[in-house]
């Protein structure tokens, strides 16, 4: 069945408002309308039905990839993109399309009541078309979500490595979260760059926020400390929690030549002492 009945095409454009009403009711029922404003949904369904009937008239129902469907495809992409940003899930996004099946089937039943074979053909064709549209929507939706996640990951990476200045010549880097190779690289680079920029002689790496220390993390820490020493500055590691200290001893890790302190305050006190400063109580 490649040629669509003219009567169907006419009915599609002629009975848009009744199809839309049935569709909206279906959407409401399936829960796909949740989280989207009523007037917005009404506009979206209206726009899509218009594009849909244009698409059928121009390219038939066989191939969603045909040129006549380009506008409908773009509309769906924009729609799933906005749904992804609104934080709706994939089911709600796909239901937008699938809820249209019922009203269209009903329409076909009314218009082609003469021949059951033709009716079946029409229904099969429109069902396949709507399935393809649903898949297209979900695929775009997923892409949009993945883009959001990727952006957030990058932002998190940037956010999680702030280098703070504690005193003239003393920098601190509070590390939060798991240390992997990529993060260590970013941390190392930003810390070393700040050491050059500020001419600081002492850097404190605080690992209070690092949940676990294994051999790999210890190796990353050792590398960072060595790089800092090569640049001509000193490094103190602080925030070694009791469990972490136990793990390090159990694993037999060699932290030879690294100054470690239990908390940031101790490390800062040591840094001040090394800079020849002391803190006294104001009388």
């Amino acid at each position: 069945m490649s040629q669509m009945d003219q009567s169907i095409i006419d009915a599609l454009s002629g009975q848009q408002s009744s199809i839309q009403a049935a569709w909206l009711a279906n959407l409401e029922e399936s829960g796909a309308a949740r989280g989207v404003r009523g007037d917005e949904l009404k506009k979206q369904t209206g726009d899509f039905l218009k594009l849909f009937s244009e698409g059928v008239a121009e390219s038939g129902m066989d191939n969603l990839g045909a040129a006549g469907w380009a506008e409908a495809r773009e509309f769906l992409e924009a729609l799933s993109h906005s749904r992804a940003l609104q934080g709706l899930d994939a089911q709600q996004t796909a239901s937008f399309i699938f809820s249209l099946k019922r009203p269209l089937f009903d329409l076909f039943q009314r218009e082609t009541s003469v021949d059951p074979a033709t009716l079946t053909n029409h229904i099969a064709a429109v069902s396949e078309l709507l399935d393809a549209m649903g898949l297209h929507t979900v695929r775009t939706f997923q892409k949009a979500r993945e883009a959001v996640i990727k952006r957030q990951q990058e932002e998190l990476l940037e956010l999680s490595t702030p280098v703070v200045k504690l005193w003239d010549g003393v920098l601190a880097l509070p590390m939060i979260g798991t240390l992997d190779s990529q993060r260590t690289q970013v941390v190392m680079e930003s810390l070393l760059q700040r050491i050059v920029d500020t001419g600081s002689e002492i850097a404190i790496i605080d690992i209070t926020g690092v949940p676990t220390v294994d051999t790999l993390v210890a190796q990353h820490l050792l590398k960072t400390v060595t790089a800092i020493r090569l640049m001509g500055a000193d490094c103190i590691i602080s925030g070694v929690r009791p469990q972490i200290a136990q793990t390090i001893v159990h694993l037999g890790l060699d932290l030879e030549g690294i100054v470690t302190k239990a908390n940031l305050a101790d490390a800062f006190a040591l840094a001040l002492r090394r800079s020849g400063l002391s803190v006294t109580k104001a009388s």
């Binding site: 690289q185 190392m188 680079e189 050059v196 590398k223 020493r229």
Partner: protein, 120 residues
């Protein structure tokens, strides 16, 4: 032949690497420095590598060698101004340069040199 100049400042020798190091240049520097230390009886050597952007394992080894040979000739070596990228590369290459004193800039390096010479 291309050479890196070695300047004398009192008891110390000052080497500033202003060009990209290649292998022959590093070998020449090592040789020249050994000669100059013995000729001037220098107590310390300060090597400024702040203009050095790229190192390989060979240059890293040369730096370690220079420091080692000057120590044997009773001159303390201080390496100053290493760029972050260079430091990361050396660490990744496994060249930790143990026993080489480092400082952030020439000023601090000089202080360190004077301090360690006074202590001896």
């Amino acid at each position: 032949m291309e050479r890196i100049p070695i300047l004398r400042m009192g008891d110390f020798l000052l080497v500033t690497v202003q060009v990209e190091m290649h292998d022959q240049l590093a070998l020449n520097l090592q040789e020249d420095l050994a000669d100059r230390i013995s000729a001037t009886a220098a107590r310390g050597v300060l090597i400024d590598i702040s203009a050095l952007e790229i190192v390989d394992s060979f240059i890293g080894r040369m730096i370690a060698n220079i420091s080692g040979l000057s120590k044997i000739m009773d001159a303390q070596t201080v390496l100053v101004g290493m760029q972050p990228a260079v430091a990361i590369t050396l660490v990744e290459l496994g060249l930790n340069l143990p026993g080489v004193a480092t400082a952030l800039n020439v000023d601090r390096g000089m202080q360190l040199l004077r301090h360690s010479v006074q202590q001896q």
